[in-house]
């Protein structure tokens, strides 16, 4: 198990490194920030001085090395727009995004999995058909439009919930979060529902497919031939088996929920990193873009690693291979 862990960690480091090169080169191919940042009326000297200050006169590989050296010291550069260290900027926005993602993933899981189980158990029933229809809506209707409808309905027409922004931040067990206050919840609930719908649709379909698949297997038929009740079969046999693909997708989707937060945050003016990245793309704020992307890659790799480890816990066949 330890050897397996070390091998996976080494792979993760390679992936992060490779992605940092791609991200760096990719982002630096975008436009010329000088044109955006420097007043066109500025003199040649000021221009040259600023270019040198940002290191933009260096060849790309040297810029990358400088970047890596700085990253190693925890310095991701300074935002060209906000003029504060990017690390501070991103980490000041990250908690808002994480709490949004957390709430929406909870909503998606606790509604999606039971609904999917039921739809797979009685696939021909009316309830199952309704659940499936909702799941199609959930993952095919564009997030931003649903978000807009939610604002129109609950904020504009009914006026019961705020239309955007993050609420009052309280403190629980030393963690500062808006989930600690009622006002915070009233702000987070609409965007969280908005963000969860896609994932919920996916969860429903995945759980349903796994359920239908499992109900066709010989071991379920064998269990039925032994007189086990459907409840016992579902909770003892099926759930254990379909938990494996669900955990996998859950992990992957955790990452994609982070990414989709970009859209939801824009609609609900939620002050998280998603909103930040859109702004920085529009304003060509390269250091912020690079930091955000590297952060996302690191999160992805970490999530994948965790998923693999959980996988090994759930599937005895993998456990055997991992030990070898």
């Amino acid at each position: 198990m330890l050897g397996y862990l070390i091998r996976r960690l080494a792979q993760a480091v390679v992936v992060v490194f490779a992605m940092s090169v791609i991200v760096f080169v990719g982002v630096y191919a975008i436009g010329n920030p000088i044109d955006v940042l420097i007043d066109p009326g500025a003199t040649q000297e000021i221009r040259a001085k600023l270019i040198a200050q940002y290191g933009l006169d260096q060849p790309l590989w040297r810029q990358y090395l400088t970047f890596i050296a700085n990253v190693a010291q925890g310095d991701m550069g300074t935002s060209m727009v906000y003029n504060i260290p990017v690390v501070d900027l991103v980490f000041s926005r990250l908690p808002a995004t994480l709490e949004l993602v957390f709430v929406s993933v909870c909503i998606a899981t606790f509604i999606g999995i039971p609904a999917g189980l039921y739809a797979g158990y009685r696939p021909d029933g009316i309830a199952a058909k309704a659940i499936m229809a909702l799941s199609v809506l959930g993952f095919s209707v564009p997030t931003f439009w649903i978000g807009m409808l939610l604002i129109m309905t609950f904020a504009v027409n009914l006026g019961v919930l705020p239309s955007g922004g993050r609420g009052e931040v309280g403190s629980v067990l030393g963690i500062h979060t808006s989930l600690a206050t009622l006002d915070g919840w009233s702000h987070v609930i609409l965007p969280a529902i908005n963000l969860s719908l896609f994932k919920m649709g996916l969860m429903i379909r995945l759980t349903r497919a796994g359920m239908v698949e499992a109900m066709r297997t010989d071991y379920v038929k064998f269990a039925r031939a032994q007189g086990l009740t459907d409840r016992e079969i579902i909770f003892s046999h099926v759930l254990r088996n379909i938990s494996i693909p669900i955990v996998t997708v859950f992990g992957l989707e955790l990452g994609s929920t982070l990414a989709f937060a970009v859209v939801t945050e824009s609609v609900f003016t939620w002050p998280g990193v998603g909103k930040l990245i859109i702004d920085s793309i529009l304003q060509l704020d390269r250091p912020v873009m690079v930091t955000y992307l590297v952060l996302v890659v690191v999160l992805f790799v970490l999530i994948n690693l965790t998923v693999d480890l959980v996988y090994a816990r759930l599937d005895p066949r993998v456990r055997l291979k991992g030990g070898a």
């Binding site: 564009p142 129109m152 010989d218």
Partner: protein, 312 residues
Amino acid sequence: MSDTLSPEGATLATPAAAKADSRATRLKNFWADFSRSPVAVISLVVIVLLAALSFGAPWVTPQNPYDMASLDWMDAFLHPGTEGSGGYVHLLGTDNAGRDMLSAILYGLRTSFVIGLSAGALALMVGICVGLTAAYFGGRIESLLMRIVDLQLSMPAILLALVLVAMLGQGVAQIVLALVVAQYAYFARTTHGAATVERGKDYIEAARSTPLPTRRVLFRHLLPNVLPPLIVVATVQVASAIALEATLSFLGVGLPLTEPSLGSLISNGFKYIHTDRTWLSIYPGLFLMVTVVAINLVGDQVRHVLDPRNQR
């Protein structure tokens, strides 16, 4: 017979009968199974209707909403059903520039279809090539290609598209390219998965041991067998390409404002969300939703019909 509960007679009938069937009967059977779901049939009709309307937009609509000369400021913010200075009724109202919303929506929808279909088709081709190459050659080529594909699959399409659009700039071609890069991986994974299953089967081994050129084995023997799952992925991907384009344009990083796009229309309407001018955002959104959902519903039924376990 691993599927012991299925009627032996019925499963027995399928493989023998399927081989003997001509292409026409298979198509007929497919349609018979497909049309079992009225929802899917209605969805298909809706898609065809919307496609016809949007591609015929220049002839159907009363004005070209992206020709500035045809717009009149006096017509701004007309409620749906009001007659404007052009002497015709604006069924879905007009926007802040006096643009007929229905015309703008149909033009935008046309862009959606063009982008969705071309991105889907290109991604399909690239994906098939990558997936088949990996499955056919195996070894290092396979593990390298599939590593890249897996890595890309773990990255959400929206993120990839965002970065690519930021790099490539705005425009239809740029969006299509970004979508292809973001989506080909789904096709590659599906092709590879189906092809590795087929690869293990004897008939491929048999074809490889004859002096047939590699290309022939790949495209004549492997491809037909991986096609059904690809068709399903393709419908889903066209729908998601349309949704992605709209999302990017809504965020302001997609199509430039001079190009008709449902996303930009909704984004524009979003500014008036606190007023009573909700038609500006509701109607383009409805068209977008109906299109995407209809394509997904059709894809769902195709998946259901092509699933060998659901064959009767």
